[in-house]
């Protein structure tokens, strides 16, 4: 086997494309993920996140595009990649009729993990499974299933983790613990690509990318993504916010009017236009208007709306 040097980019792909029955679900995506990075992959339902991840670990073959994953060719060396990647599927996909230990042991055998028994024991201990390792995976609650899935992905000490919505349906405490663990692993040099629909999780990533309709629309740190969108936002407080929202939505220059707690967030993509078209309301004095920084969610919804205008 050729000795592969450790490149600084763990994932480095260009032009990755995939269609299902003639429809482009992943459209020429370029992506570079650095070693030790936690990379968030966001996008609306059906935007092609799962499809893209499957192409990275060789479960789907891209119809065009090229690149490397862990230094191996994503098209040619799928087996080498599979041996070094831990992939956590969107839907729990371990054996529900096998116990926790049996699941771990099965996967460890498939990867020919050295000192398998110790590795399985250590994994059970690390995840706090002692005493219940004989329980069937199908009987576990959501958070424990998620923990088991993560433990199983890690059993063969992969260099890259691909996590597809790992925290869906998991309570906040378990999510926090999960993220602590992910950051711990990244500190040890593991690279993590993670998809999520939660904004707070997006903000925990070192960098992120946003994809809609199979196309990558934005990438960078949270601040970079927010800045590149060039949105400006007013926060409005006062009485009758519902009517105000209805009045503001059709106004030119206003892209989004979103209730946010006891306030309303009014966002536009052009600060100047937004200010001038909303001035009748701002000068009315009935409400309190404050300029606030745009949030990631505003940016994503804005990106999604403009993508819809462009792609359909």
């Amino acid at each position: 086997m050729i000795a592969h040097t450790q490149p600084s980019d763990v994932i480095d792909v260009v032009g990755i494309t995939k269609s299902f029955s003639g429809k482009r679900e992943v459209n020429a995506i370029d992506l570079r993920v650095r070693r030790g990075e936690i990379f968030g992959f966001l996008g609306p339902n059906g935007s092609g996140k799962t499809t893209f991840i499957r192409m990275l670990c060789g479960l789907l073959t891209p119809e065009s595009g090229s690149g490397t994953c862990l230094g191996y060719d994503v098209i040619r060396d799928q087996r080498e990649i599979r041996a070094r990647v831990g992939y956590m599927t969107q839907k729990f996909s371990f054996y529900e009729d096998l116990s926790i230990r049996e699941n771990l042991d099965f996967i460890a055998r498939l990867y020919a993990v050295e000192n398998r028994r110790q590795a399985v024991d250590a994994s059970i201990e690390r995840l706090g499974f002692q005493g219940r390792s004989g329980q069937l995976a199908g009987e576990l609650s959501g958070d424990w299933k998620q923990r088991l899935a993560l433990a199983t992905c890690l059993i063969h000490s992969p260099q890259l983790l691909l996590l597809d919505e790992p925290t869906a349906g998991v309570d906040p405490k378990a999510r926090r613990e999960f993220w602590e663990q992910i950051h711990g692993l990244a500190n040890e040099g593991l690279t993590v690509l993670i998809t999520t629909h939660y904004m707070d999780e997006a903000e925990r990533c070192h960098r992120l990318a946003y994809i809609a309709y199979g196309t990558l629309l934005a990438r960078g740190t949270v601040d970079e993504v927010v800045a590149s969108a060039g949105l400006s936002t007013w926060e409005v407080a006062g009485p009758g916010l519902n009517e105000l929202a209805r009045e503001l939505r059709p106004v030119e220059g206003v892209r989004q009017v979103v209730p946010f707690g006891n306030t309303l967030h009014v966002t536009g993509s052009n600060a100047h236009a937004l200010d001038s078209f909303t001035s009748p309301w701002r000068t009315r004095g009935t409400h309190q208007w404050t300029r606030v920084p745009s949030r990631l969610e505003d940016v994503f919804i804005h990106l999604m709306d403009s993508a819809r205008d462009n792609f359909s």
């Binding site: 670990c57 060789g58 599979r82 041996a83 992939y87 996909s93 009729d97 099965f106 498939l110």
Partner: protein, 377 residues
């Protein structure tokens, strides 16, 4: 990375065993089916097979014997495939199952007839399947007199008056008492194996796909052949368990004679079990869900049970049905089981039935491996 990883193969085997252990109902079904089938098929299924291959040993060579041979063919029950065989040759054909009957005309057949004495004919029958031989034997008895009566013309016409019925001696080989269970019970071994082996494995990969575990499997370095063989091995053991149950029942419940070698039977059962498992695995790579897999299994099972010679005597079926039957592993396995248990056949005698099974297994496994997708595309 090695082409075949024993550790990966073994991982699949162990996993399958654990899942089998957890799935009590299925396991109970696999062990329960043999006795249920035995109970169901303990009774006879009759039919009227025709054109049974026959060899003639004719020491007489006179016109009367020739007329009778012609009469046999006319009756529709017999097809004479060997007109003048030696006794040794005929015995061999019977043993191999090439012919169902050997009709012996003794040297003095014509002489006795002309003298007005009762001539005799010896019919040796392969009675492993009594349903196949019964009607044909009655036909011989019925046709002898009219045929001879027509031959007695001219100076011999006076003999018509005194013509005594021919003495047809029947010598039933292999199952002299014509006990249907002797035929059905060994056959059940093949039927039960076909049924359970195919269904069980037809579900094997479909289930992985339906439950989403296929995605996990595909994301690991495991190879198709490791998955398939790993899934087949545990069920080979189940197959042997079933075969043993039936053999025990055959021996102690139905008192089926076991003339041949049991180790030989166990050995040749292996390619048969593997062939069925391979069919099941192939189905499960094609089926989209478990229901489809079961339907495919039945689609294969029905012709197997109807056209293999289990339900109806093989030679009683029309040519097209025999053609389909000849492609099914069960057909050949039935002949092997009956051959070994009832006739005491040895490996050389069953070899012609063995290679079609091995061929079938190879083809099924190849198709399955080609169909097994290594990606989710």
């Amino acid at each position: 990375m090695k082409a075949f990883g024993v550790h990966r193969f073994w991982a699949i085997v162990l996993k399958e065993f654990i899942q089998m252990k957890r799935d009590r109902v299925t396991f109970a079904m696999m062990v329960g089916i043999p006795p249920i089938q035995l109970a169901l098929f303990g009774f006879a299924i009759n039919s009227d097979p025709k054109h049974l291959p026959t060899a003639i040993v004719n020491a007489d060579r006179g016109p009367f014997a020739r007329a009778l041979v012609w009469g046999l063919a006319q009756s529709g029950y017999f097809t004479v495939i060997r007109e003048s065989a030696t006794e040794a040759e005929a015995a061999r054909l019977l043993q191999l199952g090439t012919v169902q009957f050997v009709v012996n005309f003794p040297e003095d057949f014509s002489r006795r007839l002309i003298r007005g004495e009762q001539p005799s004919v010896l019919v040796e029958a392969d009675a492993t399947d009594p349903a196949a031989t019964g009607p044909a034997l009655s036909a011989i008895r019925a046709l002898a007199e009219p045929v001879l009566r027509r031959e007695l013309t001219g100076p011999l016409a006076h003999l018509r008056k005194t013509l005594s019925p021919i003495d047809v001696q029947v010598h039933a080989h292999y199952n002299p008492e014509n006990i249907t269970q002797y035929n059905v019970v060994p056959g059940l071994m093949g039927v039960v194996l076909t049924m359970t082996m195919i269904i069980i494995t037809a579900l094997a990969i479909t289930r992985e796909r339906e439950r989403g575990t296929m995605e996990t499997l595909l994301a690991t370095p495991v190879r198709p052949f490791e998955v398939m063989s790993g899934k087949i091995l545990p069920y080979i053991m189940v197959g042997y368990l079933q075969a043993s149950l039936i053999l025990l029942a055959a021996r102690f419940l139905f008192h089926v004679p076991m003339v041949g070698s049991l180790p030989l039977l166990y050995a040749v059962a292996l390619p048969f079990i593997a062939a069925n498992l391979a069919v099941g695995i192939t189905f499960s790579t094609i089926a989209r869900n478990q229901l489809q897999a079961i339907q495919m299994a039945f689609f294969f099972f029905l012709p197997s049970i109807l056209l293999s010679g289990f339900m109806f005597p093989f030679r009683g079926m029309p040519g097209w049905a025999q053609g389909i039957g000849a492609c099914l592993p069960l057909t050949h396995f039935l002949r092997i089981v009956r051959g070994i248990l009832l006739k005491g056949n040895s490996l050389t005698e069953i070899a012609p039935e063995l290679w079609p099974i091995i061929l079938f297994m190879t083809v099924a496994l190849t198709v399955g491996l080609r169909r097994y997708r290594q990606t989710l595309d």
